[in-house]
């Protein structure tokens, strides 16, 4: 019979004797792995559902609105382009919600063939007084199946809650900067009821699908949809045809009868949620791995300390014939087992509770159809295999370094390479301060580890604390630097009598620079003597926003390129000035230069600045309106949806700080237990010993926190700048002074907690410790 290694019995006992420490480490891992696994499982399952829904619910390849219904002949003509056209008409009605605010419902004609619905609760309407509404909109308005809604004086019963396969996000208009699922929702009644409703007004919306199946990519889709648009424009009988520029901006000539043309790839209501699902995976994984590395590092330090402590035992075992490998496996077992169990429980939690938490998070923002949980191999590898490997690697390297000594060196406790150093000469400080300095110098490796541990914990803490103030700051500067309180982008000409209104030309291009993703940059053509753009614009050359200058590292005199959004044409600009607008990517040109570049008339305009609301332009003619609410919407939305996460990160960091400082100072105290015992024998009181050892540690902690602030700021700046390079827009980096102060106070309080615990430990060191260990 093969005997099991009796050393294995120590693992469980070690776990029991240091239960607190391992429980915290274990909990950390379980929660992080669970959250990560839950996120990957939920988001990947939902992404799969999102992708499958195109087939499953027969989702359109695009849609367009006409001013009136198409004749059969026109439909036949379009369908010759190898597409199928489906009428998908709707009416819009408003009603007063429970929050007393006006709610807009877009009620579709009963859908049997195209853009089918996923029933989330209840059933489709059977009677004319029944209606189904979007689940997300219903949740936001506290409406449940069976509730009654009064629309235009008629009361409807909500027979069910649904997810529209073409509305995973409630974008009322495709050009809106942000969705609004509180005040806008989609609904569907019976065929008969729709007839009644449509008597008043009706939107002639037509959906299409390509008979050849879905296009291969966005470029092909763009080509197909552009070709189709020409046919639609022709068939609609009005002639004309939209210009390429118009199609790019979504601006269509009102006279040709089409007032909306949205191919699938450009449909925000359809794509926004899918794009967002799992988009934060990279940062979450980075967070998981940093945590595992820190925990592995703590394990490494603990193991290193244990090996030093058990040196003579190890020497005896090695002398008796235990191999390095056996001891390596023995000491490695604990961290790997803890990680393995944490990964297993974390994954179980991920597939059950956490998946639901994450799914609920997504369901609280998006109107997603029901999803089926899919086995996620990648999640398994990234949340189980990688953490175990990481733990194995970090602790394994420490172990290999520690176990390389010969049995004799272990028996003689001769585990350092360096020879005994001479005592460092210290200045004439007081005795206590010299003693403290000696403690630090004697335990320099332990204290250096502490500095590193604090650095990692402070990085996470500062990271968690800096964002809300940063977002507030971004909101403020975005508002402060708006050119005008209102900015209206028009679909075509539209005159106003508003005295504040000022015309300008605008065109959206893409940035085109090495090392950056392409992003939209608005090119403005500003008329002379503008009251809104006060910077003098040169005859030739461009004035760029400070956000653009900072992001792309452009300065006066530099040249840069912009690219047509859907073509390969490039335009070269030279920077002639920088306009203070830290959060936008924009290029300001004099109107005359704009005319030359884009070949437009000298009085061409397509937008207005205004400090007061323009009320005399029909909303049909306005492509989009930008107000202060719009420019701060992103930061506000981020604050709402991520505020909790930052608090979790902060809490996490504080616990981690306490854990790191506690474990590392514990090791330092244990190493010094003989000296502590000795000074006790000499007659020092616990308080005095505490002052010696804890004050020395306090110095190091405070120094480490302050040093970390400097290093972490630079580190976060680097990460942040690299991160923002891949995203649209710009957020100027900065950590508020208050954040540092709060962070410092938090770390000091955390340290005081640890110091109190360590004081108890000092009190417990017995006096015979010093006598017992003398050999």
């Amino acid at each position: 019979m093969v005997m099991r290694n009796p050393l294995n019995k120590r693992i469980f006992r070690e776990f029991r004797s240091e239960f607190g420490k391992y429980a915290v480490i274990f909990l950390f891992m379980v929660l992080t792995i669970g959250l990560e696994s839950g996120d990957m499982v939920a988001s990947d399952s939902m992404i799969a559902t999102c992708n499958e829904r195109y087939q499953k619910y027969h989702v359109e390849n695009g849609h367009f609105h006409l001013k009136q219904a198409m004749k059969d002949k026109a439909i036949e003509k379009i369908e010759k382009d190898d597409v199928t056209i489906y009428p998908d008409f709707y009416v819009e009605r408003t009603y007063q919600g429970k929050d007393k605010k006006e709610k807009k419902l877009r009620i579709y004609e009963s859908r049997d063939e195209i853009n089918k619905l996923c029933i989330m609760d209840g059933a489709l309407p059977k009677n004319d007084n029944e209606i189904v509404i979007d689940r997300m909109f219903a949740d936001n308005n506290k409406t449940k199946t069976g509730d009654k809604l009064t629309i235009d004086g008629k009361t409807y019963t909500v027979s069910g809650l649904v997810s529209f396969s073409d509305y995973t996000t409630m974008f009322e208009n495709n050009t809106d900067m942000m969705f609004d699922s509180v005040n806008f929702g989609v609904a569907m009644g019976t065929k008969e009821e729709f007839k009644t409703l449509s008597e008043k007004s009706l939107t002639y919306n037509y959906a299409w699908t390509y008979n050849a199946g879905d296009p291969a990519d966005d470029i092909e889709e763009k080509k197909w949809s552009d070709d189709l648009m020409d046919t639609v424009v022709d068939a609609a009988g009005e002639g004309g045809g939209a210009t390429m520029l118009g199609s790019m901006l979504g601006v269509l000539n009102m006279d040709n009868g089409i007032d909306d043309y949205v191919p699938r790839y450009a449909n925000q209501a359809m794509n926004f949620a899918g794009d967002d699902l799992g988009s934060d995976r990279g940062s979450m994984l980075a967070f998981l791995y940093i945590l595992i590395a820190v925990l592995a590092f703590i394990f490494g330090v603990t193991i290193s300390h244990t090996i030093t402590k058990e040196s003579t035992v190890i020497g005896t075992l090695r002398a008796s014939g235990y191999t390095k490998g056996e001891l390596f496996r023995h000491y490695l077992a604990m961290p790997v087992i803890v990680t393995l169990i944490a990964a297993v429980i974390g994954n179980i939690l991920g597939y059950s509770y956490m998946k639901q938490v994450i799914a609920d998070l997504y369901y609280s923002s998006y109107s997603l159809p029901k999803y089926e949980t899919l086995w996620n191999q990648q999640a398994f590898v990234l949340t189980t295999v990688v953490p175990i490997l990481l733990m194995f690697l970090v602790t394994g390297i420490t172990l290999m370094r520690k176990l390389k000594y010969s049995p004799l060196q272990f028996i003689r406790r001769d585990l350092t390479k360096s020879k005994r150093r001479k005592a460092v000469k210290l200045p004439h400080f007081s005795f206590f301060n010299r003693f403290r300095l000696r403690i630090i110098l004697q335990n320099i490796s332990g204290y250096l580890t502490l500095v590193f541990g604090i650095f990692v914990a402070t990085t996470i803490l500062l990271f968690g604390m800096m964002f809300l103030p940063l977002l507030d700051h971004v909101s403020k500067i975005s508002r402060d630097h708006m050119m005008a309180k209102y900015q209206y982008m028009l679909k075509g000409d539209a005159e106003t009598s508003n005295k504040d209104a000022e015309k300008f030309a605008a065109y959206t291009m893409n940035t085109y620079m090495d090392g950056y993703n392409q992003e939209a940059a608005t090119v403005y053509g500003i008329f002379d003597d503008s009251r809104y753009v006060k910077t003098k614009l040169p005859k030739k050359g461009a004035v760029i926003t400070s956000g653009m200058a900072e992001k792309y590292k452009l300065k006066n005199g530099d040249a840069f390129l912009l690219k047509e959004q859907y073509e390969d044409k490039l335009i070269r600009f030279q920077v002639r000035g920088i306009l203070n607008s830290p959060t936008t990517i924009g290029v300001y040109l004099s109107h005359s230069y704009y005319e030359d570049l884009f070949n437009v008339d000298k009085d061409y305009y397509c937008a207005y600045f205004s400090d007061s609301r323009i009320t005399d332009i029909s909303t049909n003619k306005i492509f989009s309106t930008i107000t202060s609410r719009d420019v701060t919407k992103m930061a506000d939305q981020l604050k709402v949806s991520m505020g909790n996460m930052f608090q979790i990160v902060e809490g996490f960091a504080v616990v981690m700080f306490i854990l790191v400082v506690y474990l590392l100072t514990k090791i330092i105290l244990e190493r010094n237990s003989t000296s502590i015992s000795m000074v006790k024998i000499l007659g020092y009181e616990d308080g005095e010993i505490g002052r010696l050892y804890l004050v020395a540690t306090s110095w190091v902690v405070i120094f480490s926190v302050l040093l970390s602030f400097v290093l972490v700021t630079e580190l976060i700046r680097l990460i942040f700048v690299a991160f923002m390079k891949g995203y649209s827009g710009w957020i100027p980096f900065g950590i508020a002074t208050n954040t540092y102060v709060e962070c410092f106070i938090l770390t000091v309080i955390s340290y005081l907690v640890v110091a109190a615990m360590q004081m108890r430990k000092i009190k417990k060191v017995p006096m015979d410790e010093a006598l017992k260990n003398v050999e």
């Binding site: 005997m3 099991r4 290694n5 009796p6 050393l7 019995k9 120590r10 006992r13 070690e14 004797s17 058990e310 003579t312 035992v313 020497g315 005896t316 075992l317 090695r318 002398a319 008796s320 014939g321 235990y322 191999t323 390095k324 010969s406 049995p407 004799l408 028996i411 050999e775």
Partner: protein, 232 residues
Amino acid sequence: MFLEINDLKKSFGQGDSRVQVLRGIDLSVDKGEICVLLGPSGSGKSTLLNIIGGIDAPDSGYVSINGEKMVDMTEKRLTRYRREHLGYVFQMYNLIPNLNIKENIEVGAYLSDHPLDIDDLLHTLGLYEHRHKLPNQLSGGQQQRTSIGRALVKNPDILLCDEPTGALDYTTSKEILKLIGDVNSKYGNTVIMVTHNDAIKEMADTVVKLRDGRIRKAYRNENKISAEELEW
């Protein structure tokens, strides 16, 4: 001859501070006998024991056990050799604090394919009643018995004892020496024991006296007595 040592030399340090610890040792020990290495501090007896045990290497010369020279062995082979043939007892007991007495002995048993019966050994060691206790619940003598048990349980060919009574009082020392003598008769292991206690030589079959790295005197003890009769 079971154990042969041939012109063994060993020095520590470099340059001016170089100290020659062993200056050419020749020695042979028969299987199953007790060999006591005597000498004052710094005489080289522990270094000699460590080289015999394969945890230190000589500068020149060799140790051969059963005809196999240790200098020719790789580190891996040496570990295997120690595992299969040697048992070690040190002055400090070096027990594993969170394993009980029986488990500490199992740590040794694990290394052997044919270990002794642990309960039987516990009785021989007089530790059977204490087998579930942790080391810190036992006296120094009991802890040293445990460490002897740990070394013996794998039934090694050679039991190497480095000052096994160095940390013990008179009575306990005699108990431990009696135990070593008893197991030598019961299991027939060769015992090589390092000590600076001259009285212990009386229980040996072979006595080797070292000074300054040289053997001053080596002889067979024709009037071997039991450990109980030792006096100092």
